[in-house]
Symmetry: C2
DNA sequence: CGTCAAATTGACAAGGTTCAAGGACCGTGG
DNA sequence: CCACGGTCCTTGAACCTTGTCAATTTGACG
């Protein structure tokens, strides 16, 4: 969590912070990450990073920007399965000939790098495993949201989740963070229409629990909101 | 896929068939599985096999019966995340101190055994990895169902998925299989009420695509239904 | 035959969608 | 610097899918 050379132009800072919080990384692992992050790849909004059914050439690490795993139905309806934020891994799996089971698309300008291979650093491997477990837990949380929460709860719950995840990457503090996506995307995430997302957000803002100006969100009292909607954050391993 | 001793009292047949279809298993792996399956554990309906947040002592293999991964909201609402069918693994993950991120409950009388440890047979390890990837794909399919399908499509899509999964374990043939759960459970799975599930099933039956007597379901023409609702089955690796 | 859970039905309410239009915002080019 | 164009946000009204509540029927089983 220390040992990141201060002179690095740290595009990777958020990603490294998140990974090192999943599992403490030794200097060698940090160095490898830093080196990997130098070879970065930029992807523009709406460009596909992975395509459903195609081979996964390598595991990628999100350094900055937001991506989404999406599934498209035959008639064009779209469902966002999950957001991929800085520090998240794309295409991580133990398959030999892995096929992507969902398309991954950039929602904002995104900086990626190829994630260091497994088997190089035990610490890094551990962080990968924990990351994968959290991914799965997020999918489950998403199922519960879509299946059993109303619009109000879905929005709140998602915002709380984003707050937690971004906080881990140092991208949120005291309930304040950027949500650089349109209400349309939120709608496709929460199984609602953008019209209804809009109305729900207005209701929440009117209640004063939330401010949302431009792309900046501020949750007034995350704990209170958690209690209000009865949220239980996913727990995977010891600390988190 | 052969080599299962014919004299075994084969409670484990379905599970072994499924696993061997995920990845061909050599005789040693089959033998190990067969031995593991001898020490079986019976769980009665509504009993919890894993509890959210508790440690996962060992990976289990479902031999017979249906289980469900469920998430309970604070006010009692319940969401079934996925069904666990014969041949499915419970608690499979690479964590060192893994915590269950969902409760697993028996829906019917269930026979389980402890799954052979990893690292014993390469074939078995591969089957495990593929199984885990499929699990994840099923979660994603579930998200798309809940987020972007209506009641009619949700029911159809779930039945098609169950047909495919049970077929792989030899428990479904030509669209015929048992669904040993109440409409209440289906409702908790599909994010609907049991009343609405009931009405939707009646509609589907009236259209003649489906018969559902007792706990026996018959899909008249699975391919036609697939096309009708624009279903695309999840693909993970080469064959499946 | 009685009992209990599960399935079914009806009437009504509500949450969310649809469609259509107007307004705010922002980068671009003249 | 301002006008233009596009995307996103916002709003209203009608509509429809699904939920709620409560009662009735069915079916399995002792």
């Amino acid at each position: 969590m220390s040992a990141i050379p201060a002179d690095e132009p740290n595009i990777a800072a958020a990603a490294i912070l998140r990974l090192s919080r999943l599992h403490a990384l030794d200097d060698a692992a940090l160095a490898t990450l830093t080196v990997s992050a130098r070879r970065l790849r930029r992807v523009n909004p709406d460009n596909e990073i992975l395509v459903e059914g195609k081979r996964i050439p390598e595991t990628l690490l999100v350094l900055s920007g937001w991506c989404a795993r999406v599934r498209q139905l035959a008639d064009g309806r779209r469902q966002v399965l999950s957001f991929l934020l800085p520090g998240d891994l794309i295409g991580l799996c133990d398959q030999v000939e892995p096929l992507a089971c969902s398309t991954v698309v950039a929602l904002t300008p995104v900086d990626l790098c190829v994630a260091p291979d497994r088997g190089m650093h035990p610490d890094l491997d551990r962080a990968y495993m924990i990351s994968r477990a959290r991914d799965e837990a997020l999918l489950m949380a998403q199922i519960a949201r879509l299946g059993r929460m109303n619009a109000y709860e879905r929005v709140m719950d998602l915002l709380l989740e984003l707050n937690e995840r971004l906080e881990m990457a140092g991208l949120a503090a005291s309930g304040r963070f950027a949500v650089p996506v349109t209400q349309e995307v939120l709608a496709d995430t929460l199984g609602l229409t953008s019209v209804h997302i809009n109305r729900t957000l207005q209701l929440i803002r009117a209640e004063g629990m939330l401010s949302w100006k431009g792309r900046e969100v501020v949750l007034r009292d995350a704990d209170a909101i958690s209690r209000l909607i009865g949220r239980t954050a996913p727990r995977i391993s010891g600390q988190f």
